[in-house]
Symmetry: C2
Subunit: 199 residues, 2 copies
């Protein structure tokens, strides 16, 4: 930077000025290309996060298990809506997936308009809010899944996974997508902030 | 902008040039003052968030209740470490409080250096990570607290709050600080991103 600026202030010749402009233009276009790369990465991460959250919501939402034995009055059946935390999990994952789909057009705009400012700011805020939302759902569900696996002797809560083993396996697995979406949203926030800083 | 630029290119007089420079300088200093205001707000929010998380950790960590009746072998006593989710809550709130204390010097630097770029980027990333962490702890604990209050008939989990009422009141209350810290961290991310955008 020091070297390329020096000739203008000292000599001010036409050729050196042109050189400087050329250097500036090429560094500008390099910078724009890097920004475009970040924006494309942003778009790809959003697609992956949509798949992760939709997968989580579907895996959790379609879980149910009916035990092969039943009494005269009772049929032992487990499904996600028996536990309100798991219902919350399905709802939140659907909301976050919907938000991510809605944010994709804006992400595409950012590939073209690499100097956009306020739209990136809006994205950072909503990405952070969605990060909080999906984290809340995933960790509350993880807490309940842990309880279903281990139970708690002090509170007299039994490990229901001893009976409902396939149900438990499924609800444990469906957490993965949500935690992946968490990591992706964290990356998306960093990417947007980096794009704001590089403008 | 159009109006203030026009005189220079057309007339190039000394006075109008000086005017323009003056206008630019005053708009620059106004902008710097606004940035300083944002940085001071950032510092204040960090202090409040420290108090909120420390309060949460202490309120949860010091909770215990011993029931007035006991058998020959058993004394009925409830404390936060009986439930691993509540232990997680205490640990995470302590970690986030420690991070926020460590981030305060950087926040003070930003009051002076309003054009700092990479340090703000680092703050955005770690703020987002801490937002995820404190949200995870708060919502997992909220899930367990809900279960302690309501129980779950399908899983045969009883509402322990019927016996341990003061314990339950305390653990419910200690969630407030954590949720407040969540909102504050969300605001802090927005402030840092806005500062990056305004540079």
């Amino acid at each position: 930077m020091e070297d390329s600026k020096a000739p203008v202030s000292e000599h001010g010749g036409e050729t050196s000025k042109a050189d400087v402009l050329e250097v500036a233009a090429s560094s500008g276009s390099r910078r724009a290309a890097a920004n475009r790369g970040l924006a494309v990465l942003d778009l790809i991460l959003r697609f992956v996060a949509v798949i992760a959250t939709v997968g989580s919501a579907i895996a959790m939402g379609t879980t149910n298990q009916t035990l092969p034995f039943f009494t005269q009055f009772l049929r032992f059946k487990a499904q996600y809506s028996d536990l309100s935390t798991l219902t919350f999990f399905v709802v939140v994952n659907s909301i976050v997936a919907a938000y991510l789909v809605l944010s994709i057009p804006l992400s595409i705009v950012h590939i073209m308009a690499s100097r956009a400012k306020y739209s990136r700011l809006v994205l950072v805020f909503f990405d952070a809010a969605m990060l909080a939302l999906v984290t809340a759902a995933a960790s509350a569900a993880a807490g309940i899944v842990y309880l279903a696996h281990k139970g708690n002797a002090r509170a007299n809560w039994f490990a229901i996974c001893q009976q409902f083993d396939s149900f438990c396996g499924r609800i444990s697995g469906s957490l993965i997508g949500s935690f992946a979406a968490m990591a992706l949203l964290l990356l998306l926030i960093l990417l947007s902030a980096a794009a704001l800083a590089r403008r």
